[in-house]
Amino acid sequence: MVVTGRAALLALLATGAVAISGSLGGTVTYVAVGLVVLLVAVDVSLAVGPRKLRLSREGDTSLRLGETAEVFVTVANPTGRRLRGSVRDAWPPSAHASPKAQPLRVGAGERRRVRTALTPTRRGDARAAGVTVRSIGPLGLAGRQRTLSAPWSVRTLPPFHSRRHLPGKLSRLRELEGQHTAMVRGQGSEFDSLRDYVPGDDVRSIDWRATARNDGVVVRTWRPERDRRILIVLDTGRTSAGRVGDTPRLDHAMDAALLLAALAGKAGDRVDFMAYDRAVRAQVKASGKGSQVNRVVEAMAPLEAELVESDPAGLVSAVLTQGRARKLVVLLTDLNATSLEEGLLPRLPLLSSHHLLMVAGIKDPQVEEMAAERGSPEALYRAASAERTLGERHRISAELRKMGAEVVDAGPEHIAPALADAYINLKAQGRL
């Protein structure tokens, strides 16, 4: 049951009437209070029961972070009375549903569509909590309220800010394939075909044996390797929860992973994806050719950093069970000396014997700012602590490189293009 301000006003009028009633007070009180209660009761009984309404849903099911999705609730009133009141489509606070509540009028036997706009500020799945319908009686004094279930879920995908780097990186990739307008010779490492020599070709690419068999001079053409396998591994452990700037490290890593997945898909490589901390949190296996970006994005959306220490040993074995075919394993994690030294380094040879490992870490620019602090003993202690952090990072990077892994260490703004460049370089060198 709900009452409106009108009911309170009516009771206030009754109070005034009793106050000036003088010696008749007792009788007038019974009459006035009884009247107010009666009117409220009548209004409640005449209000359309919210339980009789039929709700249905439609609208967007996914959006990128920062965009606005629209969801609709259709309220059908099968009763013979007119529904008057308000409705609220409830969503978790971070979904920022607006408007919070809106007036609702549905005639007898009619339907109305109620629009709610969602602008989520967090990645992941937002589930509708319920639709609260408040139905006010014909007198406008009181009514009934009920929260009805109308399940719906909206998935907020990672924003993929690094998409803007994609055209530039793709043109570098085309340069490798020799399709670029700059007409640079393809530097790929895989034999493609033989063709006639045209002036301007590198004389070192002349295939003398084929030339001897033919009339003219024949050159070999090369193209970048294709159909290589890439496994992107996202570390969702404790260290990925730390915020660099205002965003968790995990989200920066996702951005970089998405650019790499998009690029590798365009380059004709097969992209697998896995999220791991102590268990596999999400997994996407390449199915045939074509871009896996959409599937990877879907898999990433509900991921959150778990507050557990990652288990690099389990990670290595999870990677190894994915098949013995050589692949590029891109591990997006924090270059945290203690956890990598204890967990990953001892198992690195096992991994490197089968696959090529690339470790990408996101640098915190704030640590570098701290390292430059001067002026007071307190600032120096902070600078020294930051230097220690940087030193450890430097040391673990050097150790990883020494053991044959590629290391990409860049700030949050640069990690995605840096990772893409590292991938293109590997491709150019034919190391995939």
Binding site: V2, V3, G5, A8, A11, L12, A14, T15, V18, A19, S21, G22, L24, G25, G26, V28, T29, A32, V33, V36, S86, R88, A90, P92, P93, S94, K100, R122, A129, G130, T132, R134, Q145, T147, A241, G242, R243, V244, P248, E304, A305, L307, Q366, V367, M370, A371, R374, P377, L380, R382, A383, A384, S385, A386, E387, R388, T389, G391, H394, A398
Partner: protein, 402 residues
Amino acid sequence: MTTTAPPEPRSHIPASPLPGSASQGSAAGRLWRAGRLPLAVITVLVVAAVLLSLGKERFPTGHLEPDNPAPGGSRALVQLLQEDSNVTVTRGSEAAVRAVERAGDDTLLVLFLDHRLLPEELDTLAGLETDTVLVQPSLRSLHTFAPGADVTGRAQDERTLEPDCALPAATAAGGTGLVGELYSAEPGVEALGCYPAPGGSAMLQVAAPDGSTTTVLGTGGPLTNRELDTAGNASLMLNLLSAEDVVWLRPDPPTEVGSATLWELVPPGLRWSLVPLALTLLLFALWRGRRMGALVPESLPVVVRATETTEGRAGLYQAGKARDRAVSALREGFLERSVPRLGLHADAGPNAVVAAVAARTGEDPQALRPLLYPVRPDPYTADDAAMLRLAEEIDQLSGRLR
């Protein structure tokens, strides 16, 4: 010693009782362990309170209070009176009337603070056929008990007054400090005035038609512990109050009864309007307080900055004044950045690095060595100023190497 010690006996483990009873025992033990400290504290507090309260008697306070040993009380007089007579201390007129009726013929009613009594009570008390002593009575009780007597003045300057009358108690006592209000009787009233002063007598004895007397004292001063032993006060009072039964009436302040409250003064309409007003408030609260549906819970992610560990370590350095560690971190940071820039391998030894830096900057290698590598004693860890100097010199050096 440890080699000769026998192995720990473990037989008690199988010998322990059933698991259920064991867990019960441990539960009781847990309860005891949890409760023993509060229990001990409470016990200590109770014992301390009892010990502190021992030997301490609380005496009532108040002017002419019979049990009050303070200067303003009259415990001394009452104790003296109790040696010869039955002293009944009463706190209200009804108790006093009962006490007087219970007592024998030789009864004396001593009345103080009579302004606390209602007129009806005064009438009742005056109607008792018994001798009465009034101490500084109000005008109303003076007229009730001793018709014809009146307040006619007030003794101002005198310290003591002389009896100057035929009353045996007064003549025996001599001069007393009975310095207060002064009374006179109208002509035609059988009255005996003692301790005269300009304006009247400080003590007036009025005889009633039934043979009883009413003695009016101008002040309660001579009855108090403070003044009882001065001049002839004690003698006067003991003689005046000598009777077989003394009823000591010191009324408590009257409690209010039967007056109209504010509630009764409010018009009935307004009184009744509280009912619909309560309904109004209830409806108002319901209107404003009812939510559109329940709150939606959501699990929030942790907010932790990636620099937190680094900042925590900085705090530890500072708390421990770990200048040696700070200085070595600053040096290592500098070397890490500069050594590759000098064209040296990262594992290059101190001598090679110092020589390369000296060659590039033209500094004295002897001065560079303690700056870049720790020597014993390290001049840069002595105090904060030295540490700041090291940071400054390292910054200058890296500026010149760039």
